[in-house]
Symmetry: C2
Subunit: 317 residues, 2 copies
């Protein structure tokens, strides 16, 4: 399968603030697709900047955010959502008129609230969230294919220049993503259930397993193929990013958590009472959702996510 | 990586009661490894029996459990745990003296309690649980590599013939599994946290997502790559099998659920209070568990479980 690109959006200079999984993947894919004349990056730590320089993917690695955004016509903040407000304030005086400023945060309401007041009127603010990722982080973790067939959600504030929205849409399409536009509030509700609550639950159960008195950690690890290991993947995601997500999308997460707790109580009651029929009915219904996800290409149809299996050696004789 | 087999356990006739994911995988692997002279299978439904005949993996497909176990020196029940007691009662009069009777149930205390009273003294009862599986079920879902590098837990009742235990151990080792022996009670606690609770949580959250008023099912499916899709895999597992697991391991599951709920309340409180430090600390700790699982080869080190990614076509010009 390959993503077809009909029109090439071109940016003379793209600045990436942050070079983790998402920033690094944007840089790699934009380079491969020739979407930007120059790609300039910065990162908070000297260690990351040194590593990005070594990787040789971008044209320049600079020390400050101000220097990075200078003359850029596309600026993307690829940093934890809690840091976006301060960076917007910092870069605002250095932005070129007509620049598109965007981000990749997993929460949109809080990011818009934190960033928008700082940005000058001559900048086009088009918040974005590519719904893609892996459990790995850091400058080496990115790859050009990360966004292919994934959705990227744009949440432009009312009155945003339509041309700027279209240019950013075309940019994400060229990275392989399907683009959808919605309000920040609706985005935050959708992501609360499809991403934030799953992460919270995974973080919880992995912590629970780690602290049990009756079952050792080593047993938990050994016998994890019974289901537990699936949860450990997302519970290995970047801690700072996720701390910020829960703080920034508190209300929607707490609301979804309330519904989840009610549903868990119902299933718990069915187990306690030995109500096999209620359990069967529930377990049959949830199968259909998996089918829907596989059918629209949002997950692999291969069993066990297509995890590799070793081969048995046929013993001689 | 290949599993080395040092000694070949041989059974003249192996009978499999049930031919779903696990029974079908045992049949395929045992055939490939030449572990049984004859493999005879039965299944409850005529449709499954017809399909197993078509598949041509086993030597004979028979209509009744009694006929299947006749003259067998290894009998394995590959059926939901709730059905094991009745089948043990049914086959007991037809068992050959010296036969090894085993199962593959995900709960061991209840299975031992249900089966043991029916089995004749001349049969060796060695309960087993291969900790392996996929979300698929039915006669076509099995494959010979399923058990490679996975653990198989044996829970022989006190006083079980050591030779019989050793023969079954060697059988599972030949299928590629690592074998561990423990008590049924300890098994049920270990699996409650590593398998049963994760399935319950996954079933719950997938159900919750399906019933929301504010977010449509189609949105849940579209944006599932943010984490949710990981949960849908195990929530697509066989409903009957899982109904029986929760009914049979009620106490251990409820106990683990209690601990999980306490931990979830703690994290919820941290979110409500905006306690970023508590969140960070927790999220950092859970990363280590994933590393442990990958290090001992119980999951893939590849990002995102090694899910495949499409390629971007470089646009011309």
């Amino acid at each position: 399968m390959s993503a077809q690109v009909s029109a090439t959006p071109q940016f003379e200079k793209m600045a990436l603030i942050g070079f983790g999984l998402i920033g690094g993947s944007i840089a790699r894919a934009a380079r491969e697709q020739g979407l930007a004349g120059t790609i300039v990056t910065t990162a908070r730590s000297a260690k990351t900047r040194a590593r990005v320089t070594e990787l040789g993917i971008v044209d320049a690695v600079v020390e400050t955010n101000a220097e990075a955004v200078k003359d850029a016509d596309l600026v993307i903040l690829c940093i934890p959502v809690g840091a976006c407000g301060a960076v917007a304030e910092e870069i605002a005086p250095c932005l070129k008129p007509g620049v598109i400023v965007s981000d990749v945060g997993s929460v949109k309401g809080a990011v818009v609230k934190d960033m928008a007041p700082h940005l000058p009127g001559a900048a086009h603010f088009v918040p974005a969230h590519p719904v893609a990722g892996t459990e790995h982080s850091g400058p080496d973790s990115g790859f050009a294919e990360l966004f292919i067939n994934r959705w990227c959600i744009l949440t432009p504030p009312e009155g945003t220049d339509a041309g700027a929205v279209e240019r950013l849409r075309a940019f994400w399409a060229a990275l392989g993503a399907k683009v959808e536009i919605m309000t920040p509030d609706h985005h935050d509700l959708v992501l609360a259930i499809t991403s934030h609550l799953p992460h919270l639950i995974a973080y919880t159960i992995v912590g629970t397993a780690d602290e049990l008195a009756q079952v050792t950690s080593s047993e938990v690890i050994k016998f994890s193929a019974g289901g537990f290991r699936d949860f450990t993947r997302i519970a290995a995601s970047d801690p700072t990013m996720w701390r910020d997500v829960f703080l920034a999308n508190k209300e929607a997460v707490l609301e979804m958590l309330g519904t989840f707790n009610e549903d868990l109580s119902k299933l718990t009651r069915a187990i306690r009472r030995g109500d096999g029929e209620a359990l069967s009915e529930h377990f049959t219904r949830t199968r259909a959702i998996r089918r829907g996800i596989v059918e629209i290409g949002q997950d692999s149809a291969a069993p066990d996510f297509g995890r590799p299996h070793a081969q048995l050696t046929r013993k001689p004789g």
